[in-house]
Each structure stands twice: as structure tokens, then as C-alpha cells.
Symmetry: C2
Subunit: 124 residues, 2 copies
């Protein structure tokens, strides 16, 4: 049957790590707020983002770095100002992993259903 595992090798170790980074980045409420803010307002400077929160500028800077590592945000450093822009693409990796999990799950139920039906036909 050559499951989804077909492509799964050392290559996917990286994808796994990427997924972890993305999910971890998205798992913090403050970081999700930052993403929402950026989606609404478009590219913003670190300071402008900071203005919307109670916490220190440094904390914001750190959060942005985490988001950056997850690829959920890109930074265009224009001279002294860093423009931060939200990046939707990585979310697809999560979508895909969810889809994969769901299909594995559905496949099992399907197989189970066939088994039961077969048994019913043979046993009756």
C-alpha cells in the first residue's frame, strides 16, 4: 500500500522540526495577537507593535524572533527600522499535518468497517 510514509525519511526530520517551530510559535497568546495585528495592519515596525501591548519592547522583540524562527513572520530591515510582515504560507504545513492525521484516522475506521461487514457476511 505504500502509505504516506513513502516520502518519510531523513528529509522529513527537517519538516518535523519546522512543524514544531511553527506550532510552538503559534501556541503563545501574545504571539497570536501579534500575528492578528500584523494581518490587520500590514507590515509594522517593532516599536509600533510594542505600542499595542503592555509588556516591554524587549519581550516583543523576543516574541518576534520566535515567530521569525517559525517563519510566521518575515523581517525586512530597512536601515534602522525593521519592518515585520506576517507570512501565511507556513500555516499550510500545519494544515497538511492535520489532514494527514485525519486521513490516517479515517482510513483505519474504513478498514474496520470493511472487517465488520465481512465478518457479518461470513458469520451470518
Amino acid at each position: 500500500m505504500l502509505f504516506i510514509r513513502m516520502v518519510e525519511r531523513k528529509n522529513d526530520r527537517i519538516a518535523e522540526d519546522r512543524l514544531s517551530e511553527i506550532l510552538k510559535a503559534a501556541s503563545d497568546p501574545t504571539r497570536r495577537q501579534i500575528l492578528t495585528l500584523l494581518a490587520q495592519h500590514g507590515p509594522m515596525r517593532v516599536t509600533d507593535i510594542h505600542r499595542q501591548f503592555e509588556i516591554s519592547l524587549n519581550a516583543i522583540s523576543k516574541h518576534i524572533k520566535v515567530l521569525e524562527r517559525g517563519g510566521l513572520v518575515v523581517r525586512r530591515t530597512e536601515w534602522r527600522e525593521h519592518m515585520i510582515e506576517v507570512q501565511m504560507d507556513p500555516l499550510r504545513l500545519v494544515d497538511d499535518w492535520f489532514a494527514g492525521l485525519r486521513s490516517i484516522w479515517a482510513l483505519r475506521l474504513e478498514a474496520l468497517d470493511v472487517l465488520i461487514t465481512d465478518k457479518g457476511e461470513n458469520d451470518d
Copy 2:
């Protein structure tokens, strides 16, 4: 316009927390492996899950508790054995949040496009 924010109140503080729990639970590679395993094999005992990993039974037990807190797994304690079952429903919360973010983003681009078009019409 009464954005998506319509329903956003103290009620959504809980939803936010739920989302954080789910994403944090999913952000660990071992926990994702456990989910995949459960999706493939159906409900399993803690010990059986443990058999598939190198780490200690206790570590597995802890991971399961995290998954449980995120609702990604449910536990049916049948006498001394705890049957662990994967639960797909919470993933929808993540899907929905992604969808929301994407739509906010798309809406902004759309509005921006209208602005540019208007400007073009008036300025030319």
C-alpha cells in the same frame, strides 16, 4: 462592520486558552508521534504506546496528560487499564483560528486594492 470581534469577549478568553493548550500539545514531536500512532492503531493502553518509544513509561504518561489537557486525546479508564483514544475535534479550533487570520489578512489586501484603484481613477 462588526468584525469577527462580535463574539469576542470574556467567553473567548477560554477559547484562547484552549487554543494555546491544543497548539502546545501538538508542538512536541513525541506527542505528534503518539497521535499518529493512535490514529493508526485505534485506542491503546498507556503501556502499549510506551512499547513504541525509547523513553520511560512515566514520560509517556506525562505526554498523554498534556494531550488530554488539550483534548486531543480522551481516556476511558476501564478497571486498571486506561484506554487512550485520539480525538480529532479540537483540531477544528486551530483550523478556525487559521481561517480567521487568513480572512483578516485577505480583507486588508482587498481594502488596499480598492484604495489603490480609487486613487488611480481619481488621479488619472
